[in-house]
Each structure stands twice: as structure tokens, then as C-alpha cells.
Amino acid sequence: MEPIKQHEGLIYPLDRSNVDTDQIIPKQFLKRIERQGFGQFLFYNWRFNDDGSLREDFSLNDPMYKEATVLVGGENFGCGSSREHAPWAIQDYGFKVVIATSFADIFYNNCFKNGILPIVLPRHEVNDLLNQAKEEKVMIGVDLVNQLVKSDHGLVSAFDIQPYHKDMLLNGWDEISVTLNYAEAIDQYETEKAK
């Protein structure tokens, strides 16, 4: 996994609450057995008409957001199905950071395993970002080391992240390798409690 320390990128505002993982990546794309290549199907039913043409009424199709790498959403982002295909699609499409007022648990966890930084900010700050980014291009800088975001419209905000999650992203850890350092403790647990 690629580490993240700092990131600067263009915001794409998705002003909807309860965006579920069925929307992020509809089930017809879950049949693939690879990890790559899901970006083309991101928000598929919102982005495309039945005939496969782009839907003009969906903002991600607006050329203004073509280079976006920071997705700003509303409340309860990523709820529903546990499918990791959702963060795979978001990452593969080119997003590195997702900012929202709150996240669903499984999605939030899945982000860290895939080098995506999920950031929770207070509602008024998220609303400001959404409103500005709907009008014009807004760049935002994210500094994971110091846990700060700064937009070019003057928002400066600190965010919380658990130290374990932070280390994972900063180092681009393979979590299984980390755990295998505890193999002895697992062996011992099995001998004592879980034969």
C-alpha cells in the first residue's frame, strides 16, 4: 500500500447524505475477482444512462471536477454493504481523501486498508466546502502528520484520527505482516483457549 503523508488536491463535492456502498459501486460489478479496475464503475447508476452515455445531471461528470482527488460528502458516508469494492472504486478513480461529517464503520475501516484517508469535519465546515466547491474549483491541502486541512478559501481545521490508523497510512503498512509479529501470542491463545 502507498503511504500518505501530505496531499493537495481539487475537491469534488457530493452533497448527499447516507451515500451507501450500493451507490458507490453497484452489485453488477462485484463479480470481478480482481482488486483493480473498479474506478470506471464508481457511482455507476448516477454517472451513466441506461445506454452507457454520461448523465449530464450528475456533477462528477462536470469537466470542472476532472482532476478531483478529494471527495467531500455528507452524513453517514459509505453506509450499507461491507463491500471493499467501494473504497477500491474510489481509490481507483483517483481519490485519495474523503471528507464527510460522519462515516459508516466498515467503510471507514476499509479506507485505511487501501491508502485512502477518511476525515471527519464538523457539519458547518463540510457545508462550507460543499457550497464553495459547487461554485468553483477549490483546492485543499491535507497534512496527515500534523492532522490539519487547509483550503484555498481559508478554511483551516484540525482533525482527529486514531494513532494506529495514522501509522498505517503514514507507513503504508501491510497489516498482516504486522500481525504476524504476534504469531507467538496467537499460538499461545490457541493452546490455552481455542483448541
Binding site: R16, S17, N18, D20, D22, Q23, P26, K27, Q28, L30, K31, R32, I33, E34, R35, N45, D50, G74, E75, N76, C79, G80, S81, S82, R83, E84, H85, P87, S102, A104, D105, I106, N109, N110, K113, N114, Q162, P163, Y164, D174, E175, I176, T179, L180, Y182, A183, A185, I186, Y189, E190, K193, A194
Partner: protein, 472 residues
């Protein structure tokens, strides 16, 4: 005796392998359930790093999400077939027991775990599927994980997890006639919202919960994730013990009695404290119908759709309007005036034998409305056999329902059981998200009884009145 503890604390303490200040804890996983959709990339990851499955004997796989529910011997969808074949190869390569599409134990992963007695009180259970919360009905700590975590559990039989916070949902009173566990959990989510459980493990307590059968408890715990909670559970009691007696993977004879005592001792101690608490009275709950695109957008069957124009909050207005538009509904529309085209009785929420019995009770003697296509998809092969032994298939078939083979089917429409764009389905499943049952499909979540009644009427109808006039 020390401080009174919740069941969650007790299970947690028994499973910690390693802990350090300020870090998540490494906990042991007793049972890992696997299905075809969320596992291929995990096995691939193991192969790339030349890792083995640590405990194939604590892992159990089945095929459910993709499987066709008719004409099973010929799988037309080649991509689905590839995913099933991949699971088969992976299970063989890594030595994992598999109930494949032709196996007598095949079924929806959350139906077969309990049925085989693999699901037991006090266990930590995970699966790459958000409705793993279902197994919590037994007093197990069961939760959904992503594919990276599936790989992690395969390799290490453990997971890094923060100590859970607990939320008590206390349900006093008693459910009225014709009001089901499904209505109760929908009413809970409607009342407290799709986020109230986020970050918590929910424990359902109270008189109304104690009176529920195991199968009803599974319906409740199943939908915990729809309230944002990764896990929901119910303390084990005699109902739990009796359900497990004689199950294939449950302990036998004296060992069973010893296990039963241990299971019951896991129940939350009187006076134990939770991090948060909500209450609802079961006697006030009515049969529910969702009108929108998340499970909290739900009202009693006698009510109307909401009117966004009376709300102050612009975001709230917008999300209600968006849901009404998607669902093809107006504000202030009577729920009972909404015509439907499809009925789906199935899914890990409501496809156990008791669900099918109750639906059949309503259907008996009636005919499916001429404008409705109705299917029944039993949750597992053995539920199907049991139903056939009881003659339920004949009741459904005579009424004009289709009688299918076991799988997830129209719950998420990954196989060819799909609701066409713009059409409306009364469904006993758990998610009414946009496109869940097919692109543009409109889903209304209901109980099996309500779905059965709607199939016959062609519109939603209060099953309490229906029961009195038809068949009964």
C-alpha cells in the same frame, strides 16, 4: 464477583490476544464464514505473499450471492460462474470446507451458520458481509468485515479492533397480533435513524425481546447494520439453548449441558452499564412499510408518505424529496394506495422456516393478484426441504407464487432475479437503497406476512385486517 458486566465485555475479555495502551486490541476470531463475492481478492492476496490459511477448521464457505435460483445445473452467467468456480478452487487449495451450489447444506451464509449449529453463544464470528450481525441473536459477537480483513483473518485468525462501546436498546411491552419482529426492527430504525448505532455494539434487551423465538431474534439482529451498528446481539437464555440442542455442530450430551450453563452465564449481569441507551415500547409498534430509499424512511401501514414542504431543514427536505422522486411517489400519499408489481419473500432477514410458515398462512386459499409477480426464495436448501415436507410449497404454488432454490436472489439482484426499472417490489429483505433490487427498481421493505398480503391484494394492506377477512 467483580463489577457487573455486559455480555459484550465478557466475550471481549475472553478473546483478547494482545493489548497495548492507545492501540486497538488483537482479538481472536472463533468462526470465519466465507462467500464467493468478497473472498476472491483475499485468497489472491494470500497466494501472492505465499501465506496459508491458519485455521481452515474454523472457516466455512458457501455460495449464495450469485447463485441462480432456478435451472441450477446450467449457470448461464459466465462471470458469476467464474466467481463460484474461483471459490471452489480456493477452498480446495486452502483446505476450507465448502457447501457449494449442489451441497445439501448450501444456503445464505447467515441462514446456514445457525442452522448447522456453527453459530454459538460467546463466539466471535466474522464474514465479509455486513449482515453478519444476524449471528448476534445467539449472544455471539458477530460483525461484517471488508475483503482486506477477510484476508487478515484467513492468515492470522485474528483482527485488530477497538474495544467496543455498547448501546442498549430496551424493548418493553409485547408485540400485537400481526406485528412481527421485522416491524419492530423497522420501527426502531424509523424512530432512531440509520446512524444511531454507529460505533456501537447494540444489545437488544427487555420483555418483548425475551419473548421472541430464535428466528425472530435473528431478524432483529440482522438489521442492526441498517442502524449503523456493526454488531447487534441478544443475551443467551433457554430459548437459545433449546434452539441449539441437537444441531450438527453443537456439543453433544453432557458436553452440551455444560456448554449450556456456560452460555447462559454470558448474559449481561443485572446492573451492568452501557455506554448509551434507548427505549421503545413494542405494544405501540404497527406493521411497517418503507416508502423511501433507506430503511429509516418507514411508516406504519395505515399512514401516508411524508411531506417535505413542512420541514425546516433544507438538507432533510432535499433528501426526502429525492427519495420520493426515486420511488415515484407523491407527498401525503396513502401507503395502502400504492400498487405493486413484484413480491419477494426471501433474504437472510426473512427466509427461515417460520417466515415461510407465516407467509403461507396468509396466502392459503388466496390468489396472487393478476398484476403481481411473486417469488419465494427459501434461505437454504434445508429450509426448502423442510417447507416442502410441510406442504408450504404447494400453498405458494397454488396461489401463483414461484418456488425457487436457495440464495440471496432478489435481495441484491446479483443473479438474474431482478426488479425491472421503475417497477415496485414488496420485499422481505433489509435494504431499500436505490437500485438495490435492480437499476431503477423501487423497494418497499415489509414483513413476510405483509408481503404475502400485498401479493394477493396488489397493493399494501394492513395484515391485521387482512387476516380477519381472508383465510385468517
Amino acid at each position: 464477583m467483580g463489577r457487573p458486566k455486559t455480555i459484550v465485555e465478557k466475550i471481549w475479555d475472553q478473546h483478547v490476544i494482545h493489548k497495548e495502551e492507545g492501540k486497538p486490541e488483537l482479538i481472536y476470531i472463533d468462526l470465519h464464514l466465507v462467500h464467493e463475492v468478497t473472498s476472491p481478492q483475499a485468497f489472491e492476496g494470500l497466494r501472492m505473499k505465499k501465506r496459508k490459511v491458519r485455521r481452515p477448521d474454523r472457516t466455512f464457505a458457501t455460495m449464495d450471492h450469485n447463485v441462480p435460483t432456478r435451472h441450477r445445473h446450467i449457470i448461464k452467467d459466465q462471470i458469476s460462474k467464474k466467481q463460484m468456480d474461483t471459490l471452489e478452487q480456493n477452498c480446495e487449495e486452502f483446505g476450507i470446507p465448502l457447501a457449494d451450489i449442489n451441497h445439501p447444506d448450501q444456503g445464505i451464509v447467515h441462514i446456514i451458520g445457525p442452522q448447522l449449529g456453527l453459530t454459538q453463544p460467546g463466539k466471535t464470528i466474522v464474514c465479509g458481509d455486513s449482515h453478519t450481525s444476524t449471528h448476534g441473536a445467539f449472544g455471539a459477537l458477530a460483525f461484517g468485515i471488508g475483503t482486506s480483513e477477510v484476508e487478515h483473518v484467513l492468515a492470522t485468525q485474528s483482527l485488530w479492533q477497538a474495544t467496543p462501546k455498547t448501546l442498549q436498546v430496551k424493548v418493553d411491552g409485547e408485540l400485537g397480533t400481526g406485528v412481527t419482529a421485522k416491524d419492530l426492527i423497522l420501527a426502531i430504525i424509523a424512530k432512531f435513524g440509520v446512524r444511531f448505532g454507529t460505533g456501537y455494539v447494540v444489545e437488544y434487551t427487555g420483555e418483548a425481546i425475551r419473548k421472541l423465538s430464535m428466528e425472530e431474534r435473528m431478524t432483529i439482529c440482522n438489521m442492526s447494520i441498517e442502524a449503523g451498528a456493526r454488531a447487534g446481539l441478544i443475551s443467551p437464555d433457554d430459548t437459545t439453548v433449546e434452539y441449539l440442542r441437537g444441531k450438527r455442530h453443537a456439543p453433544k450430551d453432557e458436553e452440551f449441558e455444560a456448554a449450556a450453563e456456560e452460555w447462559k452465564s454470558l448474559a449481561t449481569d443485572p446492573g451492568a452499564e452501557y455506554d448509551a441507551h434507548v427505549e421503545i415500547n413494542a405494544s405501540k409498534v404497527e406493521p411497517q412499510v418503507t416508502w423511501g430509499t433507506n430503511p429509516s424512511q418507514c411508516v406504519p401501514v395505515g399512514a401516508k408518505t411524508p411531506d417535505p414542504s413542512v420541514l425546516d431543514d433544507a438538507q432533510e427536505q432535499d433528501s426526502i424529496q429525492r427519495a420520493l422522486d426515486y420511488m415515484g411517489l407523491e407527498a401525503n400519499q396513502e401507503i395502502q394506495s400504492i400498487p405493486i408489481e413484484h413480491v419477494f419473500i426471501g433474504s437472510c432477514t426473512n427466509s427461515r422456516i417460520s417466515d415461510l410458515r407465516k407467509a403461507a398462512e396468509i396466502v392459503k386459499g388466496g390468489k396472487v393478484h393478476k398484476d403481481v409477480t411473486a417469488i419465494v426464495v427459501p434461505g437454504s436448501h434445508s429450509v426448502k426441504q423442510q417447507a416442502e415436507a410441510e406442504g408450504l410449497d404447494t400453498i405458494f404454488l397454488t396461489a401463483g407464487f414461484e418456488w425457487r432454490d436457495a440464495g440471496c436472489s432478489m435481495c441484491l439482484a446479483m443473479n438474474d432475479d431482478i426488479v425491472p426499472p421503475g417497477e415496485r417490489c414488496a420485499s422481505t429483505s433489509n435494504r431499500n437503497f436505490e437500485g438495490r433490487q435492480g437499476n431503477g427498481a423501487r423497494t418497499h421493505l415489509v414483513s413476510p406476512e405483509m408481503a404475502a398480503a400485498a401479493a394477493i391484494e396488489g397493493t399494501f394492506v394492513d395484515v391485521r385486517k387482512f387476516g380477519a377477512t381472508v383465510g385468517g
